[in-house]
Symmetry: C2
Subunit: 320 residues, 2 copies
């Protein structure tokens, strides 16, 4: 069997937010998807959620109506692990971030998955060598970490085990590219991978600024959105600073601003526990700032995300 | 004299990257601008740079050709501090990040500026009470920190002195909104303000990931651009996590992922000096990754930025 860009079946295990996003993404590509969750209710609800999120992609011009509707006819709500995994070329684990649960799951999956199937975990930061610690043949195992929502965010982080075979990495990347995703492979696993670490660095400082009374929740969010995030979306951090001091490039930037950065680094938040009292204060501040309904906030976010993606695609076309 | 949205003249002091960006932005609004720099060559070059950058805004659909060309007729290359500041309603300092130099400059500016003029510093992180430490009347002084490039990035951080008058804050915000900027006011000054601190948190971790061999410069930049930055551009960090765990909002997110974040926080980079050897390694890695010419890289960045801004504006229109 040769590697193909289209799996005959994708198995999604775990019908939460991330699992449903994977489901919507595959449906929007017209791929047959089976969804399984140990909570029967979650799996039932997932079928509706996947349909709603796949159709939302059509409204955002990110998917074609005909393909989505055809794909939705092939969404299967699996009743068992055996049923979901059977005949799948790609098994996507999207259960909660619980190492033991993931280990047990993959131990069971290995027993029933087709020998050539790619087995991937959606973990956002656990070491792949531990996630797949009970799998005998880890050559086909890797972390494929999507961002939220997976059906809109282009980046996926790939974190192989030491044993992961080149061929399975290629296959995974082929699937992901066929889904319009942009896979980036880490050279080694670190806690939180790249995305989680960068996100953690940002969120800690943002929490600290809000709890320290420097700025309110919604002003902070707008400042990051319309400031640094916008800049980094157009050029990653290193390129941003390479372009940040005129014709001199990053050496000139360091000459002008390293002293500022060093002062700020020394002053940044460095706590690593969010105490219950701080959690309560943070939750209250966020809920006060975003008192609206979550579905409406999510829809607005997705609309902005879709519009940004289209803008970026337009900019890319203009160069080629 | 009542506060107006259009200054009769804007004085830009410092003809570097940020000063030229302010100049281009004001020109694109058709506002008369005078530019002064103690380095005569820089001021000469600035006139060309301002023109090029203002015209680039037309190419990006961010400014109207006629207004830019009319504005360019009114750009003045001032020969002295007195000449640049005289009759200006708004004095923008954009010299290098040197506290003493800024203090001396504003001491001199105060002697010659019109009594009602807004005096602003483009500092990216110094305390306004120190920047304006030698000014006798600080009621009209504040930091207005733009991002790079100022003519494209919508966010500006406003950091008042304790003495800054409400009226001058209003006037500054009126000017900025008339320039299409989005001003956010800090409740108190902290080193690096909000943007610098968030940027410092991100860049430290990104430098650490590259120097630690986890990922290469361009993969890191793409990962941040197409991942977290894209997400935060569509919804700031707090809103992102409020939407990150389905219907449960941020309490559910904390329940599911706080333990992960706490593990990452404990593991993040915490150095606050970039040693000369690390600087060299970083510069080499960045220059190797972006071996192309800076002007072409900058142009591509600006095109992406312009496209994202248009996308966001489109998404905003669709809601209203």
């Amino acid at each position: 069997m040769t590697a193909g860009a289209i799996p005959t079946k994708v198995a999604v295990i775990g019908a939460g937010d991330i699992g449903c996003g994977w489901g919507a993404l595959c449906v929007a590509a017209g791929w047959p998807v089976a969804v399984y969750d140990t909570g029967g209710h979650a799996a039932d609800a997932a079928i509706d959620t996947v349909a709603r999120r796949a159709r939302a992609l059509v409204a955002l011009d990110r998917a074609a109506h005909g393909i989505v509707e055809r794909g939705l006819l092939e969404v299967q709500r699996a009743r068992s692990l055996l049923q979901v995994v059977r005949d799948a070329d790609w098994v996507i684990e999207a259960i909660s971030e619980d190492l033991t649960a993931k280990q047990k799951l993959f131990e069971a999956v290995e027993q029933v998955a087709a020998p050539s199937a790619v087995l991937s975990s959606s973990s956002s930061g656990l070491p792949p060598s531990e996630i797949f610690g009970r799998v005998l043949d880890r050559t086909r195992c890797l972390v494929i970490h999507p961002l939220n929502p997976p059906e809109l965010m282009p980046l996926v982080e790939l974190v192989p085990c030491p044993e992961t075979a080149e061929r399975q990495m290629d296959q995974a990347q082929e699937y992901l590219r066929a889904l319009g995703r942009i896979p980036i492979t880490l050279k080694k696993a670190v806690p939180g991978y790249v995305v989680g670490r960068v996100a953690a660095a940002v969120w800690r400082e943002c929490i600290d600024l809000v709890l320290g009374g420097v700025i309110g929740v919604s002003d902070l969010d707008r400042a990051v959105s319309l400031g640094p995030a916008l800049g980094w979306a157009a050029a990653g951090p290193h390129l941003t600073y390479h372009l940040g001091a005129g014709a001199g490039g990053v050496p000139m930037f360091l000459q002008h601003l390293l002293r500022s950065f060093e002062g700020w680094w020394a002053d940044l938040a460095r706590w690593d526990k969010l105490e219950p009292e701080q959690q309560r204060a943070l939750v209250m501040a966020i809920e006060r700032a975003y008192a609206g309904q979550l579905p409406a906030l999510r829809e607005a976010r997705d609309r902005r995300l879709g519009a940004i993606l289209q803008g970026l695609e337009k900019a890319r076309e203009e160069t080629t």
